[in-house]
């Protein structure tokens, strides 16, 4: 079996409601990027498809735009459009 990297995924607000959960572990292939993780997520949770274009992600508490390779134990947060204030 090929090596897997386990990432902790956090979901908030509308994303959390669509998926029906706020936190779970995602196992991806070694070398996978944040973009791969999002693709994997939207495959697994079809409900997320409706907000795919507006999803921003944060890796270990920092916004990332270009795909970044994930490591075992990373925390990946799905950030729907924010509305604080």
């Amino acid at each position: 079996e090929e090596n897997k990297v386990k990432v902790k995924v956090l979901l908030f607000a509308r994303a959390r409601e669509l998926v029906g959960g706020s936190e779970f572990d995602l196992a991806v292939k070694e070398g996978a990027t944040t973009a791969d993780c999002v693709a994997e997520l939207t495959t697994r949770f079809a409900a997320l498809e409706v907000m795919r274009d507006s999803i921003v992600v944060a890796l270990n508490f920092d916004y990332v735009t270009d795909p970044v390779k994930v490591k075992d134990g990373d925390e990946l947060a799905i950030i729907p459009p924010i509305s604080g204030g």
């Binding site: 908030f12 607000a13 507006s54 916004y63 459009p81 924010i82 509305s83 604080g84 204030g85």
Partner: protein, 160 residues
């Protein structure tokens, strides 16, 4: 010890950044930025509104990605301090259900001269709305919606 005090004064007070589940005690945060060397304290209070596009809002619910929210607030404070001469900064955001008319966010900034704290206060609320991971759901009599800050969407567009 005197040297310590002078050093402290020049560097300003530590930022006070809170995410709270109850009413925001505004006096506490004003006192946190109050300083004998400050001539001005500017504050911004975000309060929940009863209507949105003529729809009556029954309730508002806030949630946050807490550790990242605090880190983003810290970055905003550092940015603000690099732009203006500030003494103290305090930011508190409330989570959970916030009744209409109550505070959801409170910002207090102190400075020697007023222009610094006035401009910094405006900058901090603008940045907060653009980058701090906090979400608000508005509940109406006939449905609910997760709000989206225009400030965030504009920046996301620039990013991608």
């Amino acid at each position: 010890m005197e040297r310590e005090a002078v050093k402290k004064m020049k560097e300003g007070k530590d930022d006070v950044l809170d995410i709270v589940d109850t009413t925001i005690d505004m006096g506490k945060y004003v006192d946190a930025v109050r300083d004998p060397g400050a001539g001005a304290i500017s504050t911004f209070i975000g309060t929940t509104r009863d209507t949105f596009q003529n729809k009556e809002v029954i309730e508002l619910q806030y949630e946050a990605y807490k550790p990242m929210a605090i880190l983003e607030l810290k970055k905003i404070c550092t940015l603000a301090r690099s732009k203006w001469s500030l003494i103290g900064i305090a930011v508190a955001h409330r989570l959970g259900t916030v009744p209409i008319g109550e505070e959801s966010v409170f910002i207090a900034v102190s400075s020697v001269h007023r222009k610094d704290s006035l401009d910094a206060c405006q900058f901090i609320i603008d940045e907060l709305k653009a980058r701090v991971p906090i979400w608000k759901k508005e509940v109406y009599s006939n449905g609910e919606v997760w709000k989206e800050n225009a400030e965030f969407l504009q920046r996301a567009q620039v990013r991608s």
